[in-house]
Amino acid sequence: EAGVAQSPRYKIIEKRQSVAFWCNPISGHATLYWYQQILGQGPKLLIQFQNNGVVDDSQLPKDRFSAERLKGVDSTLKIQPAKLEDSAVYLCASSPREGIRETQYFGPGTRLLVL
């Protein structure tokens, strides 16, 4: 079984530029998560999807961050415009079933550096 795929693995941009990250979850997984992990911290949830609907986006800075999950499969996370404090690893995770508390399967992450 293929794991969670993310691209790109690394990205360097200047502040005020925009950037997008892509995630392909494990096939058949209904729930998809985006996390932000700042160096030395644990992952912080940004947004949770079930199929293509948003379950929780309470910690997503909506003035600059947006995310979508078309057709309930792949997802993209966008930052526009980026700030220095957005430098972090962006992790995508998926879990199998709707509404069931499950373990989460993480991708390798995208490491973003904002200069």
Partner: protein
């Protein structure tokens, strides 16, 4: 306010000894708690899940305890090996009907010396 604390940023032990990592939380009532392992440059990998009505869970050399009175979980690795060196994250369910929504601690970096 709600907090999760992993009481050591780093833990250094000798190969063959038992590593014990601690996770404390306040102002949560989680239905379950999970432990993940994270290696540098990689995403976290699930290790164990323990529910609020379970006292202890084991998997090979790993053991987790969960004390909802003390609001604490202990994670043990017995007969530790250098390959166990990694950062270990505890994560708990937000409770209150949240669906898979996890809150992570900062992690404890374990180094096992040969």
């Amino acid at each position: 306010s709600q907090k999760i604390e992993q009481n050591s940023e780093a833990l250094n032990i000798q190969e063959g000894k038992t590593a014990t990592l601690t996770c404390n939380y306040t102002n949560y009532s989680p239905a379950y708690l999970q432990w993940y392992r994270q290696d540098p440059g990689r995403g976290p990998v699930f290790l164990l899940l323990i529910r609020e009505n379970e006292k202890e869970k084991r998997k090979e050399r790993l053991k987790v305890t969960f004390d909802t009175t003390l609001k604490q979980s202990l994670f043990h690795i017995t007969a530790s090996q250098p390959a166990d060196s990694a950062t270990y994250l505890c994560a708990l369910d937000k409770g209150g009907g949240s669906q898979g929504n996890l809150i992570f601690g900062k992690g404890t970096k374990l180094s096992v010396k040969p």
